[in-house]
């Protein structure tokens, strides 16, 4: 292992030679324009992507805020929340568990419970309309 103190001595001849050669290798002439051009292009693209994302986000927000108020104006749409309130995952799970308790496969029990629920919803909607 090198002792660090030993390297605090005056520069040796080799170190002086190496130091003198520091400017020998130069940067290619085309590197500067290449770097600046690439940086500008990438920054421009990034800015454009950010703008598109902002516009998309504001459109989505606009759609979210406008849609409920539009529905609120109609008379039929006011009923939907009460009908769709029947969609309760706990209800489906409890139905499925009942079926499993009576013997059967859980996944099939879930399918049946979900089908029943959709049938009930369809009936409810038909009655409402």
């Amino acid at each position: 292992m090198a002792k660090m103190s030993s390297w605090n001595e005056p520069l040796s001849d080799v170190e002086a030679m190496v130091r003198a050669a520091s400017q020998y290798v130069q940067v290619s002439r085309d590197l500067r324009p290449r770097v600046l051009e690439t940086a500008r292009t990438e920054c421009g693209e990034r800015r454009a992507r950010r703008r598109i994302r902002q516009v998309a986000a504001s459109l989505v927000l606009l759609a979210v805020f406008i849609t409920p108020s539009g529905r609120g104006l109609g008379t039929e749409s006011a009923h939907y929340p009460t009908i769709l309130a029947a969609v309760d995952s706990r209800h489906i799970f409890s139905q499925a568990e009942d079926k499993v308790a009576r013997g059967g496969d859980f996944s099939w029990a879930m399918v049946e419970a979900f089908t029943n629920l959709r049938r009930e919803q369809a009936n409810a909607l038909r009655l409402e309309l």
Partner: protein
């Protein structure tokens, strides 16, 4: 000759401007640092094209995300580390082998009043290329960047003792190689 601390301050100014004004300030940072970054990257990649690719990638990334420098106290060592990481990636991707020490790919310049020393410079660069990259990069940072072993250790993420050891091995090899070349030149 600009001292190491003055240079670091100027890099700090440039990076501050880059953070404040964006990509338009990249030119000044390039003018200030490109030569040092390229010669450091050449030591890692052993090829000027790869070294310039690494420098380009690092600077473009920095221009796109100047906020990378916000938590960094000293931007110059950070920039060196960025370039080193890119150089290692480029080297791994291209898997070039330049153990022969030829200088065909290098863009070189020698002032008229130093023409008689060109052979000496070539010999130094050629000898540097025969070193393993982890030794060559220590030599570059120690001699050309005037860094301490502790500072170099931070950039290379290794202990100062390891850095000192690599430096010692590198200087021994360089001395042997340059002495051999000098003998050959005298004989020729």
């Amino acid at each position: 000759m600009v001292s190491q601390s003055q240079f670091a301050e100027r890099v700090q100014e440039c990076t501050d401007r880059l953070t404040a004004t964006g990509v338009d300030a990249l030119g000044a940072l390039f003018d200030l640092t490109s030569h040092r970054l390229v010669r450091f990257a050449v030591a890692v990649t052993r090829n000027q094209h790869d070294a310039e690719d690494a420098v380009q990638t690092a600077l473009v990334r920095l221009a796109g995300k100047p906020e990378l420098l916000r938590p960094v106290g000293a931007p110059w060592p950070y920039l060196l580390r960025m370039v080193r990481n890119e150089a290692l990636l480029v080297g791994r991707r291209k898997q070039r082998c330049h153990a022969t020490g030829d200088l065909i790919d290098l863009v070189t310049f020698c002032p008229v009043d130093e023409l008689e020393r060109e052979e000496c410079h070539r010999a130094v660069w050629s000898a540097l290329r025969t070193l393993p990259p982890e030794q060559a990069e220590v030599v570059v940072l120690k001699i050309w960047e005037d860094m301490t072993f502790a500072q170099i250790g931070q950039i290379l993420e290794t202990s100062p003792n390891t850095v000192a050891s690599r430096y010692q091995y590198a200087m021994t090899r360089l001395t042997r190689r340059l002495a051999g070349q000098q003998r050959e030149a005298q004989r020729g």
